[in-house]
């Protein structure tokens, strides 16, 4: 039962992008085409889940026993940076097309606040390893959901008659705001 609440909460109610403001840079940057959005969401999901597992283990088995909790920020970000390097190498070999499409955004996954945010939130919410993994995967699904919906909206926006001052980023942000409002409707579920 607990897992269902974590899943619904992470995907809809407390959506990482639309409610918690994490992962905005790729959200605004990669969401111009639905295909790239899906690829980005996949890469993020992979790094997010792995990062949560590794950082959790480091927190519980190294940082806490040695009483060096203040090294959390440094160790977590180093783990994430290393994992992104790994994903880059794997992606280059397995799917060079996707690697090209994601371009500069791939190394930028390191600075994706969502990944570091989820790692820290898992510790803050006192999840155990299994709950943390479920949380990470659900958050990644929520991220992907927001990204893909937004990409679809933006593809439409490109074909519309937007007032000159609002063209580009402003209208994208306003649309994101309306999308966020829609997601607020989920708050009664949990």
């Amino acid at each position: 039962m607990q897992y269902i609440i974590i899943i619904i909460s992470a995907i809809f109610v407390n959506n990482i992008v639309l409610a918690q403001f994490l992962g905005i840079c790729p959200f605004l940057g990669v969401s111009k085409k639905t295909s790239t959005a899906v690829g980005m969401a996949g890469a993020v999901a992979f790094v997010m889940t792995l990062a949560t597992i590794v950082t959790y283990l480091i927190q519980r088995n190294i940082l806490e026993p040695l009483n060096v909790a203040y090294l959390q920020t440094i160790s977590f970000i180093l783990v994430i940076a290393a994992l992104v390097q790994l994903v880059e190498i794997i992606l280059k070999k397995v799917s060079p097309a996707l690697y090209q499409a994601l371009g500069v955004f791939l190394p930028l996954i390191t600075t994706n606040c969502a990944i570091l945010g989820v790692a820290i939130l898992t510790i803050q919410k006192d999840f155990n390893l299994m709950e943390g993994v479920v949380f990470a995967i659900s958050t990644a699904i929520g991220f992907g959901l927001a990204l893909v919906i937004f990409a679809g909206l933006r593809e439409h926006l490109d074909l519309m008659n937007v007032p000159k001052g609002l063209k580009g980023t402003p209208i994208a942000l306003i649309t994101a705001g309306i999308l966020a409002m829609a997601f607020m409707g989920f708050s009664g579920i949990v």
């Binding site: 407390n14 060096v68 203040y70 090294l71 440094i74 919410k125 006192d126 708050s187 949990v190």
Partner: protein, 213 residues
């Protein structure tokens, strides 16, 4: 400016040196701020206790008790007057059912179980909605919301929507339910503890009286 050559040894040494210096400086700053952080936390706690209880002269020894059937303990802070009598007990309680999960409250009870005050300690409830619980439940103009002066042993401390006697925050029913959950947890734990410790005293007095006549 020419950079050092990117061979393996240089890279390894650099990373090692940077991380070492970083960790050392952090260890230093951590030491410097450790006491200040501890004091800041203690001060905040003292302030919360004073805010929820009637006037007292000194604090008795605090202790931790897990609520029935649960593993996370609540902390109870008895407050005494100059003669050592308990004038109130502050209970640091929590709930995990908030809109954003876990949050903590400090609730003050007078010896008969009436709530003398409360303060929200830390929470991540929605600003403008759940976060209103800091002020909502002490509104003197709205007796159906006000919990100060009410006794959870005599009043039904659940939201009116669920058949209880307390009005929830408009549009923030989940936070309100969680808030009352934390208050009930505090009351039940405090009540069990008070009943357990005061159970034996009245009988002793009776026996002494009986012996004299």
């Amino acid at each position: 400016m020419a950079k050092r050559e990117s061979n393996f040894i240089n890279m390894l040494l650099t990373l090692f040196a940077v991380t070492f210096i970083a960790s050392a400086s952090l260890g230093l700053v951590n030491e410097m701020t450790r006491d200040a952080i501890k004091n800041a936390n203690i001060k905040a706690q003292q302030k919360a206790i004073a805010a929820v209880l009637p006037k007292f002269d000194k604090l008795g020894k605090s202790f931790k008790i897990p609520p029935k059937g649960e593993t996370d303990s609540l902390e109870l802070f008895p407050a005494l007057d100059a003669n050592g009598n308990v004038v109130g007990t502050a209970v640091k309680t929590y709930t995990n059912k908030g809109f954003s999960g876990h949050f903590e409250l400090m609730v003050g009870f007078t010896p008969d179980g009436t709530i003398s005050g409360y303060q929200v300690l830390q929470h991540q409830e929605t600003p403008g909605l759940g976060s209103k619980m800091g002020e909502w439940f002490r509104n003197k103009d709205k007796p159906k919301q006000d919990i100060i002066g009410k006794n959870p042993g005599k009043v039904n401390f659940t939201v009116s929507k669920d058949g209880g006697d307390i009005d929830a925050i408009t549009a923030a029913t989940i936070s309100s339910r969680a808030f009352l959950d934390a208050v009930r947890r505090a009351y039940n734990t405090w009540k069990n503890e008070t009943d357990a410790t005061s159970g034996s005293t009245p009988q002793k007095d009776d026996q002494t009286k009986g012996g004299n006549s």
